[in-house]
């Protein structure tokens, strides 16, 4: 029986040559095994390709001309390239303003998230603190039971009167209980001696947190900061129910109004420069999608490892 070898370490077992792989399946290469691998590589490749295909399609088609979109029924790469759709959507400052709003919300929202998360996680990481247990229980209960959508809405919009302000977008999600618990566990893992030496040097707990603990926790903070930031950038629902003034709308909400809500799309479009010749709706939609997706797409490959790390941290604890 001929067994093909692959480029892994070879060991002798019972007089037979066995290759042991780096992965879990260091193997004899039986024909079945080869067939399986080929099939597996193909399926994974196909899955990855289907995952990105819609995005590639949208990006390329957003540069197509009106004529081409109407006459050629199906294509990915356009014959003639045009930036009319982009010129059109940037002709009014509506989209630029929404972009700015999203940046504002994401920046300050993340700052608030990190402040609240860290200031709560640090004291709770001290096991000697009195009242720690009841507060932790308070946090854990809130992970399993909530007031629900409507009481939350009533509290924010009428009891606190935050409706129509950005506070309604920034404060209600200020702490993710789950993230806070993970950060707390991380703080607990920092050697106690480091903090004690700081307090001997005259630092109070606040200074110890800022000077010693936070610098040691930068990777964790970066990871959770990123999770919070992506959450803010991608959210539309709080903006939709709490904001009244459409000048304050973030990008996602504008996108929803243009594409998803058919009724709103006509009025949204007419708000743009009326002197501009209207390109096909389809390519405008695609251009808006591209504008809203590009920031995440650009930073994602560089930050992927932090995101994955964040999930791992949670997974090991959970």
């Amino acid at each position: 029986m001929a067994k093909k070898k692959i480029d892994e370490t070879t060991v002798q077992v019972n007089g037979k040559t066995v290759t042991v792989g780096s992965g879990p399946v260091g193997v004899y290469r039986t024909p079945g095994s080869i067939a399986f691998d080929t099939f597996n590589y193909l399926i994974i490749g196909l899955a990855a390709f289907t995952t990105v295909l819609p995005i590639i399609y949208i990006i390329f088609n957003s540069f197509a001309t009106e004529l081409e979109l109407q006459t050629r029924s199906m294509f990915i790469i356009p014959h003639t390239w045009s930036t009319d759709a982009y010129k059109y959507i940037f002709a009014s400052n509506k989209l630029i303003r929404a972009f700015g709003n999203s940046v504002f919300i994401t920046f300050f929202g993340t700052l608030i998230n990190l402040f609240f998360t860290v200031t709560m996680a640090y004291p709770l990481s001290k096991k000697f603190l009195r009242g720690r247990k009841p507060i932790l229980n308070l946090v854990i209960i809130s992970m399993f039971f909530s007031g629900g959508m409507i009481p939350g809405y009533v509290v924010v919009s009428s009891w606190l009167g935050l409706r129509g302000t950005y506070w309604a977008l920034l404060l209600p999600g200020a702490i993710s209980a789950y993230n806070m618990m993970i950060v707390k566990n991380f703080f607990q893992g920092i050697p106690q001696e480091l903090e004690e030496s700081a307090s001997l040097d005259g630092c109070n707990d606040m200074m110890t947190l800022i000077r010693i603990v936070l610098p040691l926790s930068l990777p964790v903070l970066a990871t959770f900061g990123l999770f919070y930031a992506v959450g803010h950038w991608n959210s539309y629902f709080p903006a939709m129910i709490y904001l009244k003034d459409d000048k304050m709308y973030p990008l996602q909400l504008i996108l929803r109004n243009i594409i998803v809500t058919a009724e709103a799309s006509a009025s949204d479009m007419s708000l743009m420069d009326p002197n501009f010749v209207e390109p096909p709706k389809q390519s405008i939609k695609m251009a808006v999608i591209v504008v809203a997706t590009v920031p995440i797409m650009c930073i994602y490959p560089f930050l992927q490892k932090y995101f994955v790390k964040g999930v791992m941290v949670g997974a090991l604890k959970g």
Binding site: V13, N14, V20, G23, P24, V25, V27, G32, S33, Y41, I44, G45, A47, A48, F49, T51, V52, P54, I55, Y57, I58, M74, F116, T119, Y122, P123, L129, R130, S146, G147, G148, M149, I150, P151, G152, Y153, V154, V155, W159, P172, A174, I175, M206, L209, Y236, Q252, L255, R256, I259, V260, Q282, K285, I289, A292, Y300, Q304, F307, V308, V311, A315
Partner: protein, 320 residues
Amino acid sequence: MTTKAVQNPAKPMPAGKGGYWHKLGVDLGKNKWLYVMLIPGLIYFLVFKYLPMWGIVIAFEDYSPFLGPFQSPWKGFYWFQRFFSTSKWVTYLSNTLILSLMSIVFTFPAPIILALMLNEIRNMHYKKLTQTLLYMPHFISIVIVVSITYVVFGTDGIMYKLTTQLLGHSIDYLGDPGVFRWMIVGQAIWKETGWGTIIFLAALTNVDTQLYEAAMIDGANRAQRLWHITLPAIRSTIVLLLVLRMGSVLDTGYEHLILMSNALNRSVSQTLDVFVYQNGIVNGQLSYTTAVGLMKSLVSVILVVTSNKIAHALGEEGLY
């Protein structure tokens, strides 16, 4: 006497005198900054988590924002009765359950299968590249996912044209109630399957490779190794996630659903969540929808506790 006291400053308080609150007072002085730091977080949880829980009281009132929770007239269980007196609640509940079960049946196993397949890939460059691509949609907002769907599956879209050419008749992907649930499930699979593999791949890195070597020497083939080593390694992760998922069987992702629902598919897109949003926030029936939301939350808590018990009975660690 005095020297002894100095040598032993952390002497416990005499019994009886200085109970919990006294000690807390002493501790407050000693660790004042720690307590100061707790304040914002504590206020956050009380105001944004516990005040809404107390706000459930409006489910038992005819709440009016002008009268407030204290002045609004008491209604008892009126809203609960009203919900069950219309026959529509069956529709809402069945829409919710069908969508949830479909999503458990199709979207829950998908990342497990994908993780097992990724785990078999030994070319690290290929693995890294495909993982990068597969994780990406997780970071795309649901608005964009739905927008892409509208553009691709709408009457001007490439998929609409393609199916019309292939089948000879068109499919109304966005309006047909028969297609609606498959679209939702499909979007969820596209968006989250890749990202969902991470937790399983993390569990798989803990498997001792000697197990595989030993199994090979004993003559186990690839399928046997997968079945007897790899799968048991992620068993507890699967059970834990399933417990969590069971607890949210009544949650249907309203942020996603309200973007996809329209006049044509209303008969299937109206789940409990969508009903609460539509009648509560859009139409202002706050007491009624709070009552519906409360029933939903209670059922969810019962489901988590039950499925956790089942997990324990199966010899797994479960959630708590």
